[in-house]
Amino acid sequence: MTTEAGSTAAAADDVKQRDEYFDALVAAGECVEPRDWLPDGYRRMVLRQIAQHAHSEIIGMQPEGSWLTRAPSLHRKAALLAKVQDEAGHGLYLYAAAETLGVTRAELLDALHNGHQRSSDTFNQPALTWADTGAIAWLTDGAAVINQAPLCRTSYGPYARAMQRVCQEETFHVRQGYDLLWSLCRGTREQQEMAQDAVDRWWLPAVALMFGPPDTVEGGDGDTRAAALGAAVSRRSMAWGIKRHTNDELRQRFIDNVVPQAERLGVTLPDPAIRWNEERGHYDFTPVTWQVYRTAVAAGAQCGRQRLAHRVAAHEAGAWVRAAADAYAARPVTERQEP
């Protein structure tokens, strides 16, 4: 009896030591690798984030992908093809990073398809016109760059390395989106209207949904309970070095970036509260409260169901192809000399 109790105590001690060692490691800014011991909570949090990120890359291909066949110039068609192809590549890097945590891509896709995991709500908006492809790239990829730049130094090594590849390409997407809108804004009146309308519709998905709910008490703006909860999750994630900044901090950084760009483009951002605040050295804007956030999520619910249905339909239609590839790969090597 005594020995058992003793070894339990020793084991608990062990776990405590490992936890402390791990926390100290990430606090020192070190990267952890798949072979390292990881606390369960950390593993779950990282996996959740990478999986959601991977799902967002492939679901995010849909709104722009639907315009590939209608791009109004061959140059834009080529740029859009290259972009959508990049996003597929991002999905692949990120699924591979997630797989280092002991899950398979098939399991992750199943979790997406059956609703256990989600993609970002940002893409749950219809891409109604050609200008949407520009607004999506400028605003949502622009928000992604702000979100992701710090993730290149996130504490989980495989995720950080995936993000380093992703980030370079995202920066290029933002520039292409801006350039696309630039052309529209210097085109006919109808084109200018199309550009403005797309910016109006993609503004909130970028500002609210790309950065997530408020996670500082100030950001909560009245809804203190939800804000406190969000802040606690964010603090945990930052203590582990998964996140490096709060959602609200990153949101401010995005606003500060994008306001002067909008002025140069000649589009109006649909937030009358945007104003330079000399004292803070930042642009003020309408705070994204929990109320604003929840409303934005709810507005996309039906489109989100359609995005998922599109994804599931493609996956199911391709089941026989994947089965064939698996069956072929299982054949003895001598029987599968590639032509």
């Binding site: 492939i58 291909m61 849909q62 992908g65 639907s66 590939l68 066949t69 209608r70 791009a71 109004p72 110039s73 061959l74 140059h75 834009r76 068609k77 080529a78 093809l81 290259a82 959508v84 192809q85 597929a88 590549g89 999905g91 692949l92 699924y95 050609w130 052309s183 529209l184 210097r186 085109g187 006919t188 109808e190 084109q191 199309m194 599109h310 994804r311 493609a314 996956h315 239609a317 391709g318 089941a319 026989w320 192809v321 994947r322 089965a323 064939a324 590839a325 698996d326 069956a327 072929y328 054949r331 029987e335 599968r336 000399q337 590639e338 032509p339």
Partner: protein
């Protein structure tokens, strides 16, 4: 062949070498452009993310080929039309692509069957055209040949995988082949123009490519345990602008935004 209305290449007088080159580049360019359009529709609908990526990558290469060839056509015919003008300002009857590339894609097997037919043709053609007496065609082809070879490998590997994979994939792949094979013939159609260009070393007589093509695809199909189709008819019409009914909707979609915003700046 007298149904050459309306003239696709109005600038250079008919029968001159420049006119011939313009028309020839237009045929090849339209093939690449329209197949690109069909592949675009696969993106986000492919069986795996790798295939979303591969098919969009191939579509992007084809678009690159089309842009060079259409630009070449515009320079040769004296109109100096840009690639965009060819793509967005022509009507159905002015397109010179084969019916093969405009066919609705069908399932993944039919898509691969078409890729197999087209890419074996282009990899043989571009390898030969790299030695063309026309500098523009030669420099285009020497660059495009490598990409065509990669596209060809992609199609061949999938053909084998599907042929030897499961019973269902074998059945679908064979059905895809039977569906597209009558249309492959048009790639090898000869007329006065190809004869003239072959004689002066500018182009390759399609008949010369056909034997090599048949040998190559037969090798792949045999490897894949599939039967080489023996179609009872051969498609024709695309090179003179007589398309299938599927073509007008394809083109309407392609040009929709451009035509909706006259005078637009893109």
């Amino acid at each position: 062949m007298t149904s050459e209305l309306p003239t696709a290449t109005p600038g250079a007088p008919a029968g001159t070498r420049n006119h011939d080159i313009a028309e020839y580049a237009l045929r090849l360019g339209d093939d690449a452009l329209i197949l690109c359009q069909r592949l675009c529709a696969w993106v986000t609908n492919a069986p795996t993310i790798e295939e979303d990526l591969a098919l969009s990558n191939i579509a992007l290469d084809l678009l690159g080929h089309a842009r060079v060839l259409l630009g070449l056509s515009g320079r040769s015919d004296g109109t100096n039309r840009s690639d965009d003008e060819f793509a967005y300002r022509r009507t159905e009857r002015e397109f010179r692509n084969t019916l093969l590339v405009e066919l609705p894609s069908g399932d993944f097997a039919a898509t691969i069957a078409r890729q197999l037919a087209y890419t074996h043709y282009t990899s043989l053609l571009y390898a030969e055209l790299a030695a063309s007496a026309d500098e523009g065609l030669a420099s285009f082809a020497s660059r495009a040949a490598k990409e065509a070879e990669y596209h060809c490998m992609h199609a061949s590997q999938w053909t084998v995988r599907l042929g030897l994979g499961t019973e269902e994939s074998h059945r679908r792949m064979q059905a895809g082949l039977e569906h597209v094979w009558p249309y492959a013939a048009e790639l090898f159609e000869a007329d006065d123009l190809t004869t003239r260009l072959d004689t002066d070393g500018t182009a390759v007589a399609p008949a010369r490519l056909r034997a090599d093509w048949e040998r190559e695809v037969t090798r792949v199909l045999t490897e894949a345990g599939l039967t080489v189709p023996a179609p009872s008819w051969e498609a024709t019409g695309g090179r003179s602008g007589i398309h299938t009914e599927a073509f007008a909707p394809l083109l309407a979609e392609f040009q929709s935004v451009f035509r909706q915003y006259p005078g637009g700046n893109w």
